[in-house]
């Protein structure tokens, strides 16, 4: 394994709780310096995998490696280099935000001055001395992210960090993550339901469904990410589908007088248009739509139902 370039690696990881198989043969590889988006529907196994990475669930040795080291055998050393946020903020309501961070800072054994620094980083300095029970969910999320950052870790593992945040809060957290990655060189592994967020900030993506990895790799290399859907409005859709089939193109007839097909670029669109006009077809409109992560995610998960 190349531990210089790979910061998280799982090898054929399978995990069951009782008779329920949660993860099946998961082999994941997260490049150092990446922002890795981990996608999957509810119950796909995202949180379970994150808990195994943090050794909260034991999946046995030689299956999960962080920084090239087996998590089970090097738990304390590995965890000292990881900042984490799992599912929901874990804060003591009777303490203030600053006191909660003081607890975290004490566990990590870092300087008390880090409390003020991370509070400032997440924009919570003003509310530092207010009890957590008076915080909104967004404020709790920020303090929890501050907890993850307090020991200046190389790797951040964040499970749904924007859950419950309003749009501006989501944007701030996204910008914070991008900045941590770009300006501070942190590798970030983030699970989310929010596909557009992942699309906006991640360099790499992994898709999990029913405990199996369906895709992983860089955003640029996602299958069909560079393909477009072309929608053509014509007078006689059935005839046009036949004409396109003669050219080796598969098109589908929609409920109205439009057809859709997948194309790879503008040149092909122009060629199709020219061909149809030459065949005497009246083309009323051509509309393209670039496949986004949501389309790809739905296509991947539907294929594996």
């Amino acid at each position: 394994m190349d531990s210089k370039n790979t910061i998280i690696e799982t090898r054929n990881l399978s995990f069951a709780i009782g008779k329920t198989q949660i993860l099946k043969d998961v082999s994941l590889s997260v490049p150092r310096g990446s922002v890795y988006g981990f996608l999957g529907p509810n119950g796909a196994g995202k949180t379970t995998l994150i808990r195994i990475m943090l050794n909260l669930f034991s999946a046995g040795s030689e299956s999960v490696f962080l920084f090239g080291k087996d998590v089970t055998r090097n738990r304390v050393e590995v965890l000292s280099r990881v900042g984490r946020f799992v599912e929901q903020p874990s804060l003591y309501d009777h303490l203030t935000g600053a006191q909660n961070l003081r607890v975290t800072q004490t566990y990590y054994g870092v300087s008390p001055s880090r409390v003020g620094e991370v509070l400032s980083l997440v924009g919570m300095t003003e509310y530092a001395n207010r009890k957590v029970k008076a915080y909104s969910l967004g404020m709790r999320q920020r303090v929890a992210i501050a907890q993850a950052l307090i020991h200046d870790p190389e790797l951040l593992i964040l499970d749904e960090p924007t859950n419950g945040l309003d749009p501006s809060g989501i944007r701030e957290i996204r910008e914070l993550m991008v900045s941590l990655n770009r300006d501070h060189g942190k590798t970030i592994f983030v699970s989310s339901h929010n596909l557009s967020e992942i699309e906006k900030m991640c360099t790499h993506v992994g898709v999990i469904h029913h405990g199996q990895i369906l895709y992983q790799g860089s955003m640029e290399r996602i299958p069909s990410a560079n393909e477009n859907t072309l929608e053509i409005k014509v007078k006689d859709p059935v005839n046009v589908i036949k004409l396109l089939k003669e050219q080796g193109l598969e098109a589908t007839h929609n409920h109205n007088s439009t057809i859709t097909l997948t194309v790879s670029g503008e040149k092909q669109i122009a060629a199709i248009n020219r061909y149809l006009v030459e065949k005497g077809t009246d083309v009323f409109s051509l509309t393209t739509h670039q496949n986004n992560l949501e389309d790809i995610f739905i296509a991947l998960t539907n294929d594996n139902q």
Binding site: R51, V86, H94, R102, T104, G109
Partner: protein
């Protein structure tokens, strides 16, 4: 390892600032000593024979009530409140993902528990001393400070505490295992009631964890023939067994 333990204990102590566990540790000894002091403050003439020192009776009233019931429920509540701090914050997943050993996080919880119990016992002595002085001001001829009586009182409290170690171990583990506080509370109630019934005549009652505090107190008063040394040793060994078992439970815990 020592550094990890130090960090864990320090972090644990920070968590208990302003909690119900801390309030209980302070208020429980105040309640018992104040209760007895108020009774003697108001009714010393009726309770103490002229020419005798009412201090022994006043202090003994508190120890008697504690050994019979209050100390049991104090330990039941304290162990619940200690663990509920973590459960209510859903913070166990954090505790388990800090870069400190399982041993450090586990033992630090025990150390904090002992510190809180130690605080309660120390405050009990201090409050008793102060309130003896206050009652003595009101009734100088009926209640006055006597070192021998006070030392006997402190010995009794320590004996009851040590004899309750096994109860502490059981309640600590149950409160740690079940996040629902009804489970340890229910066990405490069942343990207490069964102990009160069995103390009436069961010959092996000195093996009942919830009866040991009361039995050891009765022994100091010469009201039972059970051996004090046996009960305290049994309780202490039981605590060690519980602590060891709890550690394995802690390391195998699946954090959901």
């Amino acid at each position: 390892m020592i550094n990890q333990l130090y960090r864990s204990v320090k972090a644990e102590t920070l968590k208990y600032r302003g909690t119900y566990a801390m309030a209980l540790a302070v208020l429980a000894p105040l309640f018992i000593s104040l209760l007895m002091a108020v009774i003697y403050f108001i009714k010393a003439e009726k309770l103490v024979k002229t020419g005798t020192n009412g201090l022994a009776g006043m202090l003994d009233g508190g120890v008697n009530a504690s050994a019979a019931m209050l100390f049991t429920f104090y330990l039941v509540m304290l162990t619940i409140l200690i663990h509920q701090v973590e459960f209510r914050a859903h913070a166990l997943k954090d505790v388990f993902s800090y870069p400190v050993s399982y041993f450090s996080t586990y033992i630090s919880k025990w150390i904090v528990s002992f510190l809180l119990i130690g605080l309660s016992v120390a405050l009990y002595f201090i409050f008793s001393l102060l309130l003896t002085w206050v009652v003595g001001l009101r009734h100088p001829s009926l209640v006055w400070f006597d070192m021998d009586v006070f030392i006997h009182f402190m010995k009794q409290v320590c004996i009851v505490m040590i004899a309750s170690f096994l109860l502490l171990g059981i309640q600590f583990l149950v409160a740690l295992r079940w996040s629902n506080p009804i489970v340890p509370l229910g066990l405490g109630v069942v343990g207490f009631i069964s102990a009160i019934i069995l103390v009436q005549g069961w010959k092996h009652v000195d093996t009942h964890p919830y009866a040991l505090g009361l039995l050891s107190y009765m022994r100091t008063m010469g009201r039972t023939s059970f051996t004090l040394g046996h009960m305290m040793t049994y309780s202490t060994i039981g605590l060690v067994v519980m602590m060891t078992g709890g550690y394995f439970m802690w390391t195998k815990r699946r954090i959901v």
